[in-house]
Each structure stands twice: as C-alpha cells, then as structure tokens.
C-alpha cells in the first residue's frame, strides 16, 4: 500500500491544482461582491466542453479550439453577471436571491450543454510539447505537467495583477471597502462584472488544461464547485496562497480516500470534510484576505 503513496500524492497534487484555481475564482467573486459563485464549477465544465466541441465537432485545430473555448466561457461568465446578477444588484436584492439565482444558472447551463451535445463525456487530446517527467518511481504525464505549469503561471499572473496594476488594486479596494472604493471613483458595478469575468476565465483555463486527463461531461460542474469551495474555506476566502494549500489538501484527501475507501465515495469524503470544516472553522483555517464587512450600501 505504501508504495502507492507517491502516485496518490502526485495525483492529488494535480487534481488539487484545479481545485485551487477554482478556489481563487470563488474567493475573488466573494471578496468583491459578497456572493458565492455557485456557477464556478460550470465555468470549468464549459471551458472543457466548449473546447472539446470546437475541436471535435467544429474541426478547429487544438490551439484555436482552446482559445475559442476559453473566450466563449468568459463571455458566458460576463453575460451571467450582466443579465442575472446586475439587475438583482441594482435593486438591492437580499442574500438568498443571489444564491438562488446562481443555482438556477448552475442548473440551466449544464442542461443546455446536455441538450446540445448529449450526456456522454467529451475530451480532446493532450497538448503534447512538454515531455513526461520521472519523479522517483512515479511518472508525471505531459498533461499533468501542463496542469501544474499553467496553475503556477496563473498564480503569478494574478499576483502581479493585484499587486502591481492599478486596476487590480482597485479591485482589491472594492473588496476591502465598497463604499470607499466608490468614493475614490471606482465603478463598483464594473468591478463586479470583472470579478465574474475573471472567475470564468480561471475556471475555463482549469477546465481546458484538465479535460485531456479525465474528460468532462455536462454534470461535472457541481462537484467542481463544492471542491473549489472546500479549498477556499481551508485557505481562507480570497487568500491566494491559502487557495493553493486548500486545493492541495482537498486533492490529496480525495486521492487517498478514492484509493483506500472506494472510488465512488471519494467525493462524499470531501463533502464530509467541507461540512466538518465549516462547522468548526466557519472562516477558514487561514485568515481570509479581507475581513468581510457586513455593511451594505
């Protein structure tokens, strides 16, 4: 059993990377708007599905399919915000309205996909280019390497965005104190839209890089959302470093429980952990990046 451990760990790390990306997306939207993005997992699914569709059915070459898939997902994310969140925001809707609304979106999107391309899993070829890597007794496949590489790049890009660009700082300011940000001239509504767009971008990138490994299907969204949320809770909402740690924890946990308990119970274990976490540490193990204020405008 013990010699399985390295494989499980590597597996867990690779899966964990995707959960981490999702956790960052969820944290981003939550910090900027106070809303939990229930549709985060759907962006992952859409990134993979749309790319697979463009590649398989529309005959685009892989790079174009990827760009197209990601771009379309971002558009969907922005449309979601514009059509479904903005009206609620403008009329000052209560908490549960957003939750319900995003749940509706998280229902409609996969159903549209199912009706469009069916229930079967879709996939597309691994990217190639990168060679597999040998780590002791374990081989890290080329695509797995892509996952890790892309995750690291995304992390670095986001850090630079938030720490070095004025727009990133403006988003941070919106997350810290919405009213003050508005007084400084930040168009909060635009920040809300941007946060959804970014979350969709992150999800799509995760989905695209992940699909060649395990394929994707129309109902892959919910578990992605829950796993991402679990990772975000462990790492603290909006805390990017924490998201990486959270993702790794969830990924490795899943990997181990899938191997030692049962493959079907893998998800259930994660959910149970999420459950226990929220009960014991409602604010996450790490400090959240921003102490959430309860004040509304």
């Amino acid at each position: 059993m013990i010699d399985l451990l390295p494989v499980l760990l590597i597996n867990g790390v690779v899966f964990g990377a995707i959960y981490a990306i999702n956790a960052i997306g969820i944290g981003l939207v939550y910090n900027t708007t106070g809303i939990i993005n229930f549709a985060q997992g759907e962006f992952v699914m859409l990134g993979g599905m749309l790319t697979a569709f463009l590649y398989g059915h529309a005959g685009l070459s892989l790079p174009f399919a990827i760009v197209g898939g990601v771009a379309l997902t971002v558009v969907i994310g922005l449309l979601t915000e514009r059509l479904f969140i903005r009206p609620l925001w403008r009329r000052g809707a209560k908490d549960w309205t957003y939750v319900f609304m995003l749940f509706a979106v998280a229902t409609v999107l996969p159903n549209l996909v199912m009706l469009g391309v069916g229930r079967d899993p879709l996939t597309f070829p691994a990217f190639g280019v990168l060679p597999p890597v040998q780590l002791g007794s374990v081989t890290l496949s080329s695509q797995a390497l892509w996952v890790l590489l892309v995750t690291v790049l995304v992390f670095i890009a986001l850090q630079s965005f938030f720490d070095r660009t004025l727009l990133g700082k403006a988003m941070k300011a919106t997350a810290i104190n919405r009213r003050v940000a508005a007084w400084l001239g930040v168009a909060v509504e635009q920040m809300v839209a941007m946060s959804f767009g970014l979350a969709a971008l992150l999800g799509a990138i995760g989905g695209v890089v992940f699909t060649p490994l395990i394929s994707t299907q129309f109902d892959a969204g919910v578990s992605m959302t829950l796993n991402g949320f679990a990772a975000a809770i462990i790492g603290g909402m909006g805390n990017m470093r924490g998201a990486i740690v959270g993702g790794l924890v969830i990924g490795i946990l899943q990997s181990i429980s899938t191997a030692f308990i049962s493959s079907v119970y893998g998800d259930a274990v994660t959910y149970a952990v999420l459950f226990a976490l929220l009960v014991i540490w409602p604010h996450g193990l790490f400090r959240p990046l921003i102490e959430l204020k309860n004040e509304e405008i």
């Binding site: 004025l166 700082k169 403006a170 941070k172 300011a173 810290i176 104190n177 009213r179 003050v180 940000a181 508005a182 007084w183 400084l184 001239g185 930040v186 168009a187 909060v188 990046l289 921003i290 405008i297």
Partner: protein
C-alpha cells in the same frame, strides 16, 4: 460653488434631514456642528452620493448632482474624508494614496507620483510609513492618510466627517493646522464636527444642526461670541465645556 436646497432624506420612517439648505462658496471653510443623530453625517452622505435623496437638490458649480452616482462625484471635484477614516487597511500608505488618484488614472504616472510626494511633504510622518500597511498606522496617522488620499484627487471641495473622532486633541490640532494651510491655498472645505469649539475657531461660517434641521447659521465668530451658550444648550454633545 456648492448649493444645497431643501434637502430631505429619510431612512424608512425616520426623517434624517428635513428641508436643509446650505451653501459653500469657493475657497470657504464651512463648519457643521450638532449632537449625534442631528443629521450631520446624513448631509455628507447625500453630498457624497451614498444616501438616496428624498427631495431637494444639490448643485455643484451649477451642475445638478443630486442623483449623481457615487463613483462619479470625485471626478466633479468633491472628495470625502469619511467618518472613522476608513483607510484601506491591507494596502500600503503609498497604495492608498495611489488609489486616491484613481479617477485621474489617465494622467501620467510621473504626475501622480509627484502628488504623492506632495502629500508626504504635507504629512511628514506618512513618509516614514510609506511602505507600511495602512492598518498598522495610529489613529492620527490614518486620519492624515485619509485626508491625503482625498487630496490626491485634486478636489475643489473637501468633505470631512468628524475628523476629530478618536484623536487626542493635540493630534487633531496638528491636522487642523494642515487643513487651514490647505484652505489658505484655496481649497474649500465642509467640515462636520462634534467639537463645536474647535470648529467655530477654524471655520469662517457654520451651521448648527439639531434633529435633521438647521437651527442656527452665520459667521463662526458671531456664533462663538454671542451664541456659543445657546449653541451649547442646543445640543448635549459638547462634553468638555459644561460646568
């Protein structure tokens, strides 16, 4: 420059402001005093766009800004130093200042950087703390930062909401001195304050609020000499001066 006419603001059933009319002319330093709950903060919320106006109008430089969205006000030249400072804690002093100039982001970075230097000259202690997170600053330093941040937008009217709150009198006096200097250089200020005494000494004209209405107005020196007793009697907030 600023003309507020018959402003009425209600939060549900509560009337926070009833038919309030004030004005601030170019380069004036105007004060608003009154006890807690007198409506002073509501007035500033209306001016900064955070509160919905029931009826009445707010005009700035001839433009009706009554319903102008919050994020567009700073572009018109109105900057607010909020109650409780409200600096952006997780960001550094320099970043707070940088964001203060957000609406000027089309301008060159060199110009903005020069303005940041000017603020640091104005408040030397901030220079020492330039790279520190705003949350680590003392109350007085945060107040300076909040003012500096507002100044970064090159406003024509500076709104101050209870700047003395939580500050030692000496610290506040220092800040007030800086405000006076800025005013002397042409900045118009509207200061809402609990500390009537200090306000009447600093400003040229003042309004006295009670339960959402103006009960007294006029030149600060007059209010100070003749009416101070009346002013103090009019509200119970002035702690230090009661016998």
């Amino acid at each position: 420059m600023l003309e507020v006419r018959d402003l009425k603001i209600s939060y549900g059933q509560i009337e926070a402001l009833k038919n309030v009319s004030i004005r601030v002319d170019r380069g004036e330093f105007v004060g608003v005093i009154g006890a807690n709950g007198a409506g002073k903060t509501s007035l500033l919320m209306a001016l900064s766009g955070a509160a919905r106006v029931g009826s009445g109008s707010v005009a700035f430089d001839g433009e009706d800004v009554t319903h102008l969205p919050q994020h567009l006000r700073v572009g018109r030249g109105i900057a607010i130093v909020p109650e409780g400072r409200q600096v952006l804690g997780p960001l550094s002093v320099m970043e707070n200042l940088e964001l203060g100039a957000y609406q000027r982001r089309a301008e060159s970075r060199a110009v903005i950087a020069r303005d940041q230097e000017m603020i640091l000259d104005l408040f030397p202690i901030l220079r020492q703390r330039a790279r520190q997170l705003a949350a680590t600053l003392s109350g007085g330093e945060q107040q300076m930062l909040a003012i500096g941040r507002a100044l970064m937008s090159r406003p024509r009217l500076l709104l101050l909401d209870e700047p003395s709150f939580g500050l030692a009198p000496m610290v506040f006096a220092e800040i007030l001195a800086t405000l006076r200097r800025l005013h002397a250089e042409g900045l118009a200020c509207l200061m809402v304050e609990q500390d009537a005494h200090v306000t009447l000494e600093t400003t040229s004209r003042s309004y006295v609020f009670r339960t959402g209405q103006i009960i007294m107005e006029g030149s600060s020196s007059e209010l100070r000499q003749g009416g101070l007793v009346l002013v103090e009697e009019s509200y119970l907030g002035s702690g230090e001066k009661s016998p």
